[in-house]
Structure formats: C-alpha cells, structure tokens
Amino acid sequence: QQPVQSPQAVILREGEDAVINCSSSKALYSVHWYRQKHGEAPVFLMILLKGGEQKGHEKISASFNEKKQQSSLYLTASQLSYSGTYFCGTERMGGGNKLTFGTGTQLKVEL
C-alpha cells in the first residue's frame, strides 16, 4: 500500500517555506526523499532512519515520527530550483531496501 503524501500540489513565491508530509499505515524502518524535475530521473535528497535524528542540508530538512509512521520534508526560503515533484519512498521493517513510493507532491516556485 502506497504511503499518502500531502499536499498533492503547492505553489510558492520565492523565499516562502513549505512542508510536505508522507504517512504510512505500516511500521517503517526508513523514509527516503527524492526530487524529480520534469523529464529527469528522481534525485535522492535524504534518508530518515528509524531511531535516527532529523536530517537536513542547507535549507531542506526532514523529520521522521516513528510513533505516527509519518515523515515531513521542510523547504525553507524556497528557490526557483526547488521546483519539481517530491516523492517519499518508505521501507518497511525487514524490507531489504525495497521502497514503496507515494504519489508525489508537485511544487512550483515562482518569482
């Protein structure tokens, strides 16, 4: 069963912040976040592991709430380059690196 992402789409002005959520009904070991630009391959952003700390680099960070089986991706002071579709991929306990992806969140950053 695919994890549920919200929102499905969001439009931001440059400099604004956004939060993308990913929820699963299954017990998770890890959550992987990717960004895909139109016509390109998904590009890995970060992994959140069970029992791990909140991750982040520059103005993109993420958290993993193990009790709720939910992860959130935080984009602060958005830039035009942040535009794309964001996917979460969830790995279940004992999943062996098999990921189940959400349906994606389309993010568009405008001037």
Binding site: P42, G89, G96, N97, L99, T103
Partner: protein, 117 residues
C-alpha cells in the same frame, strides 16, 4: 558517481510486439529495480532482483517479466505489449543492505518513455 543507464529514452511499439527494456549500472550494486511511473500514481514497483538470476515480483508484475543474467544488467520484458503499458519506465539500483535494513538509497536511471500504439 553511480551511473544507471537505460537503453532508450523514447520507444514506440505496436500492440502485441515483444519489448525489451535494458538497464545497466556501473557500481557493482546487488539490487536492481524496475518501476513504472504514471501521472497521479507515482512510482510503482514492477519487479526487483537481489542477485544474478534472482527475481521477485513487485506490486504490479502482470504483463511483465525480467531477466538478470549478469550483475550489472537488468532487463524488463513485455511479452506482448498492450496500450495500457504506455508509460515511463524507470530502472534503479542499490547496494545490498549490510543486514536486514538499508542505510543506502536507490539510484535511478533517466527513464524510458514507452508508447504502445
């Protein structure tokens, strides 16, 4: 850098044809995956392989088969292509987890957009 390549970026086939999509990775990864990507549905796993000659069904294996004769190459086969298999196909690879759980991610190829007429 990890490199995953796919044989074609665009492919047009006719209904009933046998179609081969090839994927090659150069990082000696044990795991390889085939996904299809459709608008509003995200990436859905078709098949995956943990080792040479090993394969497991993903979430939507119907109408597809796979072959992995060499570690670096994973092929997706559409035995008799149908119009509902028109889609973007993405291949990915990842190293084997050190134990039951992974700390590494999957690396994707550029995708093959297949159109079945």
């Amino acid at each position: 850098d990890v490199k995953v390549t796919q044989s074609s970026r665009y492919l047009v086939k006719r209904t009933g044809e046998k179609v081969f999509l090839e994927c090659v990775q150069d990082m000696d990864h044990e795991n390889m995956f085939w996904y299809r990507q459709d608008p509003g549905l995200g990436l859905r796993l078709i098949y995956f392989s943990y080792d040479v000659k090993m394969k497991e069904k993903g979430d939507i294996p119907e109408g597809y088969s796979v072959s992995r004769e060499k570690k670096e190459r994973f092929s997706l086969i559409l035995e008799s292509a149908s119009t509902n298999q028109t889609s973007m196909y993405l291949c990915a690879s990842s190293p084997a987890p050190g134990d039951s759980y992974s700390t590494d991610t999957q690396y994707f190829g550029p995708g093959t957009r297949l159109t079945v007429l």
